[in-house]
Amino acid sequence: MTAIKRIFIANRGEIAVRIIRTCRALGIETVLGVSEADRESLGARLATRTVCLGPSPAAESYLKVPTIVHAAIGFGCDAVHPGYGFLSENRALAEACVENGLIFIGPDPENLEAVGDKLTARGHAEAAGVPLIPGASGATVADSDELAAEIGFPMLIKAVAGGGGRGMKRVDRREDLAAQIDLAISEAAAAFGDGRIYVERYVTIGRHVEVQIISDGETVLHAGERDCSVQRRYQKVVEEAPAPRLPHKLRSGLLDAAVRFARHIRYRSLGTVEFLVDVEREEFYFLEMNARIQVEHPVTEATTGLDLVEFQIAIAEGRPLWIGQQDIRTSGHAIECRLNAEDPENNFMPSPGRITQAWFPSLPGLRVDTHMQPGAMIPPFYDSMVAKLIAWGETREEAIEVMRRALKVCQLDGVKTNARLHEAIMNDAEFRRGGVDTAYLAGLLSAVAEGEKSG
């Protein structure tokens, strides 16, 4: 076990500030590597020391593995925290850290390999007895009966060589299957020069539910689940814990499956196992495992009272977990809204610029993770998230009420934000009922657009 004394933070924005928060509490010094655009950022002002890695584009600064490792060694750091995004699940950085005697605050390169590509991860899930979406490759017309029995309807036929939605066919009825397979094979052969097809179960109503894992390699704990179904183009917008109106059987099933998966690959760090919940069939399927701290980790912290970054650092130091599953008790309900500098009225175009006013007063039940302050600059080079509002209440209704207040009270001027979209979600009857699916937000957005046209 090595006590970490000085951490190099290879990230920016709110997560850099979030990591500094825990480091300060633990008496660990921080060296923050920034790009030219982030020299004056809040993180740069709060870190023990800030160093400029390179020009503003991430490829020339935040993504430069040798520069980050050189700076971490040169400034006497004993560990590197990669945050999320950028190099957080990058094997080259994890390996370079190992080679140079630095602790990578994340899983080891073997763990990253095990979850890094979808196919390998699926193989591990299968071996661990974690349910995958039923499917079959290399199907032919002769397999129709078997496929219909195993996969059921609706079913999706994909061209192996296709991608991004091209060469996909949905089949709803048994009597159409043989003809559709025939058609798909000839179409795939004509379009891609490769007639192989892949068939899988189609989930009409799906929810995105994920499980927070904390593991020291021996003890594997879960810290409950998060529901991240409110998405726009696969980007999470609102997350909450626990998942509302999730049948007990499903909840306990996916918590167990997540622990089983992490144990199977001997995972050691913080991580998140993502599942697709099939609402109609009341089943769930493994999607992937994320080997990093996640954007939405605060909703888990709000309901469990844990500091996940502290656990992540302690595990990286080699400390055995000092709590057991029975010590993790969830209470109440937490919701996170991601505030982005973007223009919802202009197709969510990014809206970079100078912040003239930033006011996030403390309200009962509200936590705000942000790097915004008056005068802060939102550069156009990176993602547009500027703050996370996290509301907690004894019940989900109370948490929603806290969030509605926060959205009314808080102020961020100088750029356009999606704050009004969050208000619309919090006020929407379907969201308030709980348990919306991943298609929900697209529906709400077009309903709002329709309403504006007719009104």
């Binding site: 400029c52 050189h70 040169g74 006497g76």
Partner: protein, 163 residues
């Protein structure tokens, strides 16, 4: 509580001066002291430690200043972009000469052109040569040999040639 005086520091400095060591770290109670010989590679970010405002250094203020002064590397001078300062094009360790003991690329008073190599910056054993980017006469070499420089940090000053 440990009382640490200016004299103690001076004694320590003499001690390290007469030794083969480039660096000394001392921790006594709440006091942390790092001394490093000028020009030696910064194995530990001494200035980072020094900048940590909340680090409790007890004893008289004068002692604190004296204790931290020898360990401090100058705060990086960020190039103004006025043309007379040559900034580091990347983060890494700056070297004045192609290899230890060799002649430095440039000296004060040298007349240089835009593509004159003024030094190399090493990043994880990869050497990157640094060109002046300006015509003129070298007036000052700011970054020490073997110093870790950040992106944009001033390496040398140049009196630009008249157009």
């Amino acid at each position: 509580m440990v009382e640490f005086t200016r004299k103690d520091i001076e004694d320590l400095l003499r001690l390290i001066d007469g030794s083969d060591f480039d660096e000394l770290k001392l921790e006594m109670g709440d006091l942390k002291l790092e001394l490093r010989r000028r020009g030696s590679a910064p194995a530990q970010g001494a200035s980072a430690k020094q900048a940590f405002a909340s680090e409790p250094v007890k004893g008289e203020t004068e002692t604190k200043a004296a204790a931290s002064a020898p360990a401090t590397t100058d705060a990086p001078v960020i190039a103004s972009g006025g043309g007379s300062e040559v900034p580091a094009p990347l983060l890494g360790t700056f070297y004045h000469a192609p290899k230890p003991g060799a002649e430095p690329f440039i000296r004060i008073g040298d007349t240089i052109t835009s593509d004159t190599v003024i030094g190399v910056i090493e990043v994880m054993k990869l050497m990157n040569s640094v060109s002046a980017g300006v015509d003129g006469v070298v007036t000052e070499i700011i970054a020490a040999d073997g110093q870790l420089v950040e992106h944009g940090q001033t390496l040398i000053r140049v009196q630009p040639a008249l157009p």
